[in-house]
Symmetry: C2
């Protein structure tokens, strides 16, 4: 397998964790999201992924898979152990809802292309951009904390004691929030789960700083 | 089951289609997203769904399920016939990627709370708001058209001849694009699939105008 990735991309980070948890290796192909106007917009790449984003996972037979959550669900179906989802439908719904609350409510509003659009096209100041970032992140993290705090299914991880799709999304989101200096004190359950997961080898090896294209 | 819903919400529309395709009935509880500052923000509702959005599906045992895609996957697991996903992992990945390309790339940037933030908090003009809407919608639909046009798995629907999670997301997105007068001519495959699906009873009965709270 080949994984087209960018070290600091939250969505790439999710898939790197999933691969590590499954004990799978994929050749990493860095796609620099800023250099040369964004390598993800070059025709050779958009032929593979018309959405012009990372990650893309290319299977050995040449099929290109896109959208990080779809890739993680695919990996979970093709390589079921260890599972990334609980076995019961209610638990699966809880985990997916948590993952989607990040993937549909926070990340799309705060990713690089949107922040660039705000300062570039709309002419917002750097401060107004940061306020936008924090507004949606705080709103999203507040909801996430309410979803896990005191919930009987919350454990060391979002759901029980082993990482699921929910944790794969949480850790990159928390990384991102720290990068933009969001105060995380109001989210003690999220902070605890994030710290626990980052202590696991699969998460540590997937961290942005541990990638071959780090700091580029 | 009870479905907390708003007639014009794309994400509610997705779940209504899923319920209809499965032949399931749920009591509809309208949540007006504008009236009284947004009924979804009232404590009685956020106790059920801390994300303060629609839809929420409440199961007969009282469990509240959130996030439209998680709800649809749950319904598909608990009521497997007819299936909302293909049987093969590659097909499932393709359908989920398409659904997520709408749910993570278009809808979060163009929904009501974001448009209100643009004109309210950021003070953008109505024209600038519409330009924002069209910018992300056109970018997203362009990628979606490239994902389906000429693809061997595309049929009457996004994947083959029966509706999947991909179509549940496409039809509400196209409804939304028409509402904001986005020119759909550049997306002939999407237009064809959308028209086909809207001709099916399950989709027609889920349409915004067919809901009890329509035009409120």
């Amino acid at each position: 397998m080949r994984l087209y990735t960018y070290w600091r991309s939250s969505t790439s980070y999710r898939v790197r964790i999933a691969l590590n948890l499954k004990g799978l290796s994929a050749e990493q192909v860095p796609v620099h999201l800023v250099r040369d106007g964004g390598e993800q917009k070059q025709p050779a790449y958009t032929a593979l992924n018309p959405q012009a984003g990372v990650p893309t996972l290319v299977e050995d037979d040449g099929r290109a898979l896109t959208q990080s959550l779809a890739i993680c669900e695919y990996l979970d179906e093709v390589h079921p152990h260890p599972p990334l989802l609980p076995t019961d439908a209610a638990g699966r719904a809880r985990v997916r809802a948590f993952a989607l609350a990040i993937s549909c409510e926070i990340h799309p509003l705060t990713n690089l292309r949107v922040l660039k659009h705000l300062t570039g096209h709309l002419g917002l100041s750097e401060d107004a951009k940061l306020e936008w970032y924090r507004h949606w992140t705080v709103q999203g993290l507040t909801a996430l904390e309410a979803m896990v705090a005191g919930h009987p299914d919350t454990g060391d991880c979002v759901h029980g004691s082993t990482p699921t799709l929910a944790d794969l999304c949480l850790v990159p989101q928390m990384y991102n929030a720290r990068r933009f200096n969001v105060d995380l004190e109001p989210y003690p359950t999220l902070v605890r789960i994030d710290a626990h997961c980052r202590g696991l080898d699969a998460f540590a090896a997937a961290a942005p700083e541990a990638q071959p294209d780090a700091d580029t």
